[in-house]
């Protein structure tokens, strides 16, 4: 109730000064804003629309489609220039395929304090394509490790763990420690399982695999070489770093609840929130669910994804070893973005609406509104801890926001794959991955098949254009 009140007050305050004036005046303008079915994201857009309508006298029509069909729907509409949509809410991975049909963000939005407030990982990398700002992040997103204080800080558990593994129990910093803890807490007879990750094809499976792989393949001395060789565009996915990641990802099945091969990211969440598992890997949603609807309220702890002291170097063909653990937190998915298709009849009003949605005031409310699906992406979001009191205890909020901020600030942060023909690449990946997980082929065979398929696709799409696109996506200058 308090939250509701707050947001109404905020909207009223926004509206009061300008309601009479219609500033700027968009009377008679109707914006068709489209994204996935609510509540996540769609409800945040609808909430922002209320304030925008009051300020500008325009109207906003939020049109929702199933997530699975969003890509074809947007692509067909924009390529045929039907003018159906003025603002689209979509996923960074699609930006390469969509960019030709999108207008660029007006320059006046790319300056000032509101602009600088956006974390540079989003501002400078995920929102741009080929040097132009084509989209606006409205939601921050990354994989994180969710833990439970009731287990980690239990003196008996701590003593038993240290006796068994020879080091104190704490948030795991390497994948080896992660598996130690998964093994330690895996007690099926007591209804407690070690960990939960998503393994179902079509259930965000490959992002979990990528999260493991980043730690072994995102070599800081060869930036941008995680997925492809940025000099030749040769697929890297069958190198020893990826192999190790796949073997570990598969090994995790031993510590998951039974039937884990059917679990998508949506299933992983309640397992954690309901206290069935000791930890899980997920986006920011698990933490919120755990402390609002779950049985582990007050015990939610969040950490950056584990790292590694060994990273594969594809240039030397050897493992590089590091004295300190290198964290390569993986920005899986990368958060929802807004863009204005070039065939929109009201681009000016559309960008004005986008600016409203991502403004610090409106987005600052969205991140603490239940079910909005919006997670922090601005510096101001991370700093205002008191906003979070409706969701988290103080300790929970500190670890939750701290883990996210630390991931973004990590010098070796790993960005998601963004490449024209994204679905063609991930289809091969999903097919082979599911074979390897079901034990039909060995991990090495699966990875070799993926690499072969990826190279064939790259050749089909044109190696030079794909290479240029890949370099742009990882922030490398053109060759």
């Amino acid at each position: 109730m308090k939250r509701l009140l707050l947001s109404t007050v905020a909207f009223a305050a926004l509206g009061a000064g300008t309601a009479m004036a219609c500033e700027p005046d968009y009377t008679g303008v109707t914006l068709n804003v489209s994204t996935q079915n609510g509540p996540a994201i769609a409800s945040a857009l609808a909430a922002a629309a209320v304030g925008w309508e009051e300020r500008t006298c325009g109207t906003v029509n939020v049109i929702e489609f199933p997530f699975g069909e969003l890509y074809p729907k947007f692509l067909t509409a924009m390529s045929q220039q039907t003018g159906d949509f003025d603002v689209i809410g979509f996923v960074p991975a699609w930006l390469p395929d969509f960019s030709t049909y999108l207008s660029s963000m007006p320059v006046e939005l790319q300056e000032g304090s509101n602009w600088d407030d956006i974390h540079p990982v989003y501002r400078e990398r995920l929102m741009t394509w080929n040097g132009e700002v084509k989209s606006a992040t409205m939601d921050g997103d990354m994989h994180m490790l969710n833990l439970r204080a009731d287990l980690l800080e239990d003196p008996e558990e701590m003593a038993a763990f240290e006796a068994a593994y020879g080091y104190p129990l704490a948030a795991p910093v390497t994948w080896a420690q992660y598996y130690d803890q998964a093994e330690f807490f895996h007690r099926p007879d007591d209804g407690l399982f070690g960990t939960a990750e998503a393994y179902r094809r079509g259930g965000q499976q490959f992002w979990y695999f990528f999260s493991h792989a980043a730690s072994y393949t995102n070599n800081p001395s060869n930036p941008g070489s995680m997925f492809f060789d940025p000099e030749t565009m040769d697929a890297q996915i069958n190198n020893p770093g990826w192999l190790r990641a796949l073997e570990e990802y598969k090994r995790g099945l031993d510590f998951n609840p039974p039937g884990a091969l059917n679990n998508g990211s949506g299933d992983v969440r309640p397992l954690y929130a309901g206290g069935t598992v000791a930890m899980n890997i997920d986006w920011a949603d698990s933490g919120v669910l755990g402390s609002t609807e779950g049985s582990i309220e007050g015990h939610v702890r969040t950490a950056m994804l584990p790292g590694s002291t060994e990273i594969w170097n594809h240039v030397s063909g050897e493992w590089d070893t590091f004295d300190e653990v290198v964290h390569s937190p993986f920005l899986a998915f990368g958060g929802w973005q807004l863009a204005v298709p070039a065939d929109s009849e009201n681009p000016e009003a559309a960008w004005d609406f986008v600016a409203e949605v991502i403004s610090p005031e409106v987005s600052g409310q969205a991140i603490v509104t239940a079910n909005s699906g919006v997670n922090p992406y601005r510096f101001s979001h991370y700093d205002n801890l008191e906003n979070w009191s409706s969701v988290f205890s103080e300790e929970e909020a500190a670890s939750y926001l701290g883990a996210q901020r630390a991931s973004l600030d990590a010098p070796n942060v790993a960005l998601d794959l963004r490449l024209p023909g994204f679905f063609s690449y991930t289809e091969i990946l999903e097919i082979e991955l599911s074979k390897a997980l079901a034990g039909q082929v060995t991990p090495q065979e699966a990875l070799d098949a993926i690499a072969e398929g990826w190279d064939a696709l790259t050749d089909e799409f044109g190696r030079d254009t794909q290479l240029a696109a890949y370099r742009a996506s990882v922030g490398l200058p053109p060759l």
Partner: protein
């Protein structure tokens, strides 16, 4: 009204043209479009200019393991499930026709599965067949089978898909066969009853032959529609593990709506059309022979 009058009565055109024109207008362009595109390499992503590739798309499809695998999977699901649907549906229709106790309740409940959107059915099935949290698992554990990997073991997954198809589409057969039973002239049966012909012979000598044309039509529609099975597979297994449970339309959907490889999808659609026509023609020829035997 036979002979010349039937052939030349102009009114027949007034009856058939509206339907003919609507179907033609809506389906001719997709067909032309698909045919021309199937000989080209057309991709919306990444947007490459279309180029003529002759029969390359067709050659690629026919030489791909994945195509033959998905044809086999589809055919298995369709033929087995349609056989179940027909047998069960007809039996239920007979029972309803003879007004078993409570038939007015069944008549409504039996129809419902058909009216649920396939994507919904698939989602419901995923709940029911959840290998850990679903009721079927509970039942199987109760029967001593233990936790079965319903959706991640290809043979089991295909059985699950067949039972879902049967669940949803048996009502289709029931409904039409019931309507068929009700349109049969009752005099024939009165006569049979007077002659004291047993129910078994009455069925095989009277009911079955009289409903044979309808049966042929009903099975045929189920075959055609069954070949397009996609939602259940998509939601339950995503075609996996690997491509072990992928059906033809799912294959085409991924090529078309995920990868926007339109040339390949169009060629695939035509190959699909040919596969269905081949199966359909064989089936109709067999059915005609059967009908002639009874005629």
């Amino acid at each position: 009204m036979h002979g010349d009058a039937v052939r030349h009565d102009k009114v027949k055109y007034a009856f058939i043209w509206p339907a003919f024109i609507i179907v033609l207008v809506i389906s001719i362009f997709p067909l032309i479009y698909a045919l021309t595109v199937s000989f080209q390499s057309v991709r919306l992503v990444p947007p490459l200019p279309p180029r003529f590739v002759g029969v390359d798309n067709y050659v690629d499809i026919l030489s791909s393991q994945r195509f033959w695998g998905s044809t086999w999977t589809t055919a298995t699901i369709v033929f087995v499930s349609v056989a179940f649907q027909y047998a069960l549906g007809f039996l239920l229709a007979l029972a309803l026709h003879h007004n078993v106790r409570g038939s007015s309740l069944y008549r409504v409940v039996f129809l419902l599965p058909m009216f649920i959107a396939p994507v919904c059915v698939a989602l419901i099935a995923r709940m029911v067949f959840h290998p850990y949290l679903g009721p079927v698992n509970d039942a199987m554990v109760g029967l001593g089978f233990g936790n079965l990997p319903f959706l991640t073991e290809p043979a089991l997954a295909i059985m699950v898909l067949i039972s879902i198809e049967t669940w949803q589409w048996t009502p289709f057969v029931t409904l039409l066969m019931l309507a068929g039973l009700q349109s049969m002239p009752s005099e024939v049966f009165e006569a049979a009853r007077v002659d004291d012909i047993g129910p078994w012979r009455r069925f095989w000598d009277l009911t079955f032959p009289m409903l044979l044309p309808l049966s042929v039509a009903v099975i045929f529609i189920r075959l055609i529609e069954g070949f397009k099975v996609i939602d259940t597979v998509f939601v339950l297994t995503g075609g996996g593990p690997g491509t072990a449970t992928e059906t033809l339309t799912l294959f085409a959907y991924n090529e078309g709506f995920k990868k926007f490889n339109l040339g390949m999808t169009s060629a695939l659609s035509f190959v699909f059309l040919i596969v269905v026509i081949v199966f359909g023609t064989i089936y109709l020829a067999a059915a005609r022979r059967l009908m002639r035997r009874y005629a």
